[in-house]
């Protein structure tokens, strides 16, 4: 053991130039603190015998200070004057009814000061070495560092063990509560695990279903649209087409084309940040499900959404869609087919007014044979309300007319992407979170409702 400690101390103090306190030594070697103190003393002696001044020590002195100079008892005078240390402190200033209190001093002192401190004490209870260090330390804060280090290096032990090894005063009644904090996973996972599967499956199935089936579904829904909102069928349908356009793109991923249309892009970037919120905002399934199935399965879905897996799947879905959308939009921008549509971006409602050419184009799509129709991309005029703070601190609302791209075409393949909103519709859909529920509740085709909200 002796070689053990001396080699450890030599390595640490002489080679690494580190300070070693008795506590550190006891923790390092797993020995009693009092033993560690002895070792430190021995080490200090032997090293200094070999070469004077090679090793420096600090001591901890406990004792009773001389009563005449109670250094801790600087009386504050009635007039708030603190008696300076140089001025004689009269014990008489102490309150008469304040009895003399036994004071014990615990003083940490460097070896240079040791004698002085010893003299200041009336009675010395103990002097023991506190730490050894390679040279005189300027600041005892270095020791404080070592003490802090102690806590970070050595985990706190069990109370009983601690007292057995290090000699800490034993307290039999210490009970460390068991149990790390309960694991965070929410309990829903187990509950809803049954739902996870269908949720995952459905998007797959819908996407994989033959184009014919999905298109027929889309046709039906389109018909429904007509039935429900006769007034503005055309406008609606064009919108719908816009939605359904994405599927085509999704099926064949396109390389994003970078274009310097800052205005247009920025107008999209305004709306896009809202999309990621979709999963949290709507507890309803992503639009694709709703569009596909009209039956009860859709009604169950909202519950399913709570499952984490479903959530993740959905987010994945949404992210993918968003990417697709972006690509789509970029592509749209390339072929400039202008269809000015006045939109109020602030209330995310789109004016149904469309350019004549557009409406002219849409009738074809309205017909229940849209599957084969080609996709159309275009731009439209959008009136946005921009709110800014001017230099006077007033909020100024301006109406700005901007061009935005949109696409409208009929996707023949999957009905699922029909729901896929482009930048505008996505916003609309998210904002109308109750949409999904409503659709389910009415039992009617969801697409109608979705498109209803779009148009508004």
């Amino acid at each position: 053991m002796s070689t053990d400690y001396s080699s450890f101390l030599a390595a640490r103090v002489l080679n690494d130039n580190k300070l070693v306190t008795y506590r550190l030594l006891s923790r390092e070697l797993e020995i009693h603190v009092n033993k560690a103190k002895e070792y430190l003393t021995a080490f200090h002696e032997t090293e200094n015998r070999k070469r004077t001044g090679s090793c420096h020590a600090t001591y901890l002195v406990t004792g009773i200070p001389k009563p005449l100079i109670p250094p801790t008892r600087l009386k504050i005078d009635k007039d708030d004057d603190t008696i300076m240390e140089s001025s004689p402190v009269q014990p008489a200033t102490q309150n008469e009814d304040e009895e003399v209190v036994k004071t014990t001093s615990v003083i940490l002192v460097t070896e240079e000061e040791l004698e002085g401190v010893k003299e200041s004490l009336q009675e010395i209870t103990s002097v023991h070495i506190y730490s050894v260090e390679p040279g005189p330390i300027k600041d005892l804060l270095a020791i404080s560092d070592a003490s802090t280090e102690l806590y970070s290096t050595f985990p706190t032990l069990d109370a009983a063990e601690k007292s057995k090894i290090y000699g800490t005063t034993l307290n039999r009644y210490v009970k460390k509560r068991e149990g790390a904090p309960p694991p965070p996973p929410p309990p829903q996972t187990t509950k809803s695990s049954t739902y996870v599967v269908p949720v995952k499956k459905e998007p797959l199935s819908s996407s994989t279903t033959p184009a014919a089936a999905s298109t027929s579904a889309s046709k039906d829904t389109k018909k429904d649209v007509k039935r429900d909102f006769f007034g503005s069928v055309k406008a609606k349908d064009t919108q719908k087409q816009t939605q359904s356009s994405e599927p085509a793109t999704s099926s064949k991923p396109k390389v994003p084309i970078k274009r310097g249309q800052s205005d247009l892009m920025s107008s999209f970037s305004n709306s896009q940040p809202k999309k990621p919120k979709q999963p949290e905002k709507e507890k309803t399934p992503p639009p694709d499900f709703m569009d596909v199935d009209d039956d009860e399965a859709a009604e169950e879905l909202p519950v399913d959404e709570e499952t984490i897996a479903a959530e993740r799947a959905k987010q994945e879905e949404i992210r993918r869609k968003r990417e697709e959308n972006e690509e789509e939009l970029r592509r749209m921008m390339e072929d400039d087919e202008d269809e000015p549509i006045v939109t109020e971006a602030t209330n995310t409602a789109m004016d149904a007014a469309e350019s004549p050419e557009d409406t002219a184009a849409s009738p074809a799509e309205d017909l229940p044979a849209p599957a084969s129709s080609g996709r159309r991309k275009g731009k439209r005029k959008v009136t946005k309300k921009v709110r800014t703070k001017d230099e006077h601190g007033y909020i100024v609302t301006r109406e700005v007319t901007e061009w935005e791209e949109y696409s409208e075409d009929d996707a023949p393949v999957p009905a699922k992407p029909a729901a896929k909103p482009n930048a505008f519709t996505a916003m609309k859909q998210t904002s109308s979170s109750q949409k999904g529920k409503k659709g389910a509740g009415e039992g009617g085709p969801k697409r109608d409702i979705a498109s209803f909200f779009q148009r508004k």
């Binding site: 053991m1 008795y22 506590r23 006891s26 009693h32 009092n34 033993k35 901890l60 406990t62 250094p71 008892r73 600087l74 504050i76 009635k78 309150n95 009814d97 304040e98 209190v101 036994k102 004071t103 014990t104 001093s105 615990v106 003083i107 940490l108 002192v109 460097t110 070896e111 240079e112 000061e113 002085g116 209870t125 103990s126 023991h128 005189p136 300027k138 600041d139 005892l140 804060l141 020791i143 404080s144 003490s147 802090t148 806590y151 706190t156 109370a159 057995k164 090894i165 290090y166 000699g167 800490t168 005063t169 034993l170 307290n171 039999r172 009644y173 210490v174 009970k175 460390k176 509560r177």
Partner: protein, 464 residues
């Protein structure tokens, strides 16, 4: 290795927390006015009893002293006595209207040390009926604060003021006798009192704090010291364990905010939070809790509610020490009341006396403590100048049972004395100094109630 050193065993004491200062429902909807009614209702019978004892059948110049029920019933020229709440009308006292005016000051005047101004202060006594101005040398000499319940005897002068001849306080409440062994036991058992650790979380935590922990754990010193340390059965930390949030954080915040000026945040910025002090305190507490029971009271600078009674600091803040809750880690309220081996302790983290200090002339904090005991109220100046909870059913600060040890933390210096009541009550009063300034730990002998001080210091060759 361990066989040669038999570890010392911690002396055990029975600890009972008094839930007196716990607030169960935090409703701040109500008005503060009720507190004064409650207080008066609780203490008036006591004061009147003392008044009757003192003044019944008393005649001054052949005129009998008459008791008056309400302050407004006092008749001019009649010798009478009445009980009520003291209100100190002090121009120097902080005032809500002044606070508003402060917004227009070029530089805000520093907060006052004392509110007392003998020339301009008016001392009043009030109850639910009205107010009466008190005059006379007797009342001027007596250090009173807003909110204490007293009874005064005298006459109303021609100018409508009440000339006070004599005063009566509620005096010390009844005390439950503490168990004193017939034969003084050989082994002493102590309770350690500490306040104002002011842990900053800086890299250089004060070495004295470490010495303190080592001493309490029984690691420092000779076996003799260790044996003494093992006789300290528990530690009560009376507030201000953490120092006030430091200015250093603002620098970081400034640089950080410039870098992310775009993402402007409103309200609380979690990035500015410095967890270091709590973490350091947590490690210290965890270390202590393996060996000694620690009662942790919140103080002025601690992360607890600011208004008295401060509620327990939440154990979650102490991520490792919290595992000792239920055994050695006891977060408690401020003020805190408990019973240790039959000895009743009552203590605050210092705000109460610091506030009384502003009202009275002089610096004798022990005297102020004694006064609060005689007023039977821990925090008489609440809610006037001290923040407090708007009690609805009961003024919890009224002292119902006289403690055996009454301590106040975070005082400028250590002090102790005994206060004696008329019914053989004896109370040990202790002012606990701030550890960060003095390095002093106070030990109370549970048997004799005598105090000892252990002072932790460091002396380095260069700086000394």
């Amino acid at each position: 290795m361990t066989s040669e050193h038999q570890p010392f065993e911690r002396h055990q004491t029975v600890y009972k927390t008094d839930p007196q200062f716990q607030i169960d429902n935090h409703s701040y909807q109500t008005q503060y006015v009720d507190i004064y009614f409650l207080r008066l209702a609780q203490l008036k019978p006591t004061v009147e009893e003392h008044g009757r004892e003192r003044w019944d059948d008393l005649e001054v110049h052949g005129e009998p002293v008459r008791r008056v029920d309400r302050v407004l019933d006092v008749r001019q020229g009649e010798l009478c006595w009445v009980a009520g709440t003291v209100y100190m009308d002090m121009p120097l006292k902080p005032n809500v209207l002044d606070d508003i005016a402060k917004d227009h000051f070029i530089s805000v005047p520093p907060p006052r040390q004392k509110y007392r101004d003998f020339e301009n202060d008016e001392i009043m006594i009030e109850d639910e009926s009205g107010r009466l101005r008190l005059v006379g040398s007797k009342i001027q000499k007596e250090d009173l604060v807003t909110g204490c319940i007293i009874a005064v005897m005298g006459t109303e002068t021609a100018s409508g003021e009440f000339e006070v001849i004599d005063i009566v306080f509620p005096e010390l409440p009844p005390q439950i006798e503490r168990p004193i062994p017939k034969v003084p036991s050989k082994t002493k058992t102590y309770v350690a009192l500490l306040s104002g650790l002011n842990v900053t979380g800086n890299i250089h935590e004060s070495i004295e704090t470490h010495l303190l922990v080592e001493y309490l754990l029984g690691e420092a010193g000779s076996p003799e010291d260790q044996s003494k340390s093992s006789s300290i059965s528990r530690l009560i930390i009376a507030g201000n364990s953490l120092s006030e949030p430091h200015a250093q954080a603002t620098d970081d915040a400034a640089t950080a905010s410039s870098s992310r000026a775009k993402s402007k945040k409103y309200g609380y910025d979690a990035a500015a939070y410095n967890a270091k002090p709590t973490t350091v305190l947590d490690t210290l507490l965890t270390d202590l809790c393996t060996s000694i029971s620690v009662t942790l009271m919140p103080g002025e600078t601690d992360p607890a509610n600011a208004s008295l009674p401060q509620q327990k600091m939440h154990p979650t803040m102490f991520s490792t020490a919290k595992y000792y809750t239920g055994s050695t880690f006891i977060p408690s309220t401020n003020p805190h009341s408990c019973e240790i081996d039959g000895v009743r302790f009552l203590g605050t983290s210092g705000q109460t006396i610091d506030d009384v200090f502003k009202y009275v002339d002089g610096d004798d904090r022990l005297d102020m403590m004694e006064k609060t005991l005689r007023w039977r109220h821990v925090a008489p100046t609440a809610p006037d100048t001290l923040w407090c909870y708007p009690f609805q059913d009961l003024d919890q600060f009224v002292i119902k049972h006289c403690p055996h040890v009454y301590f106040v933390g975070n005082q400028p210096e250590f002090g102790t004395k005994l206060a004696y009541g008329s019914n053989e009550q004896v109370v040990r009063l202790i002012t606990i100094p701030k550890f960060s300034e003095t390095g002093e730990l106070v030990l109370v002998d549970l048997e004799t109630l005598e105090c000892e001080v252990i002072s932790f210091k460091s002396k380095s060759g260069v700086s000394a």
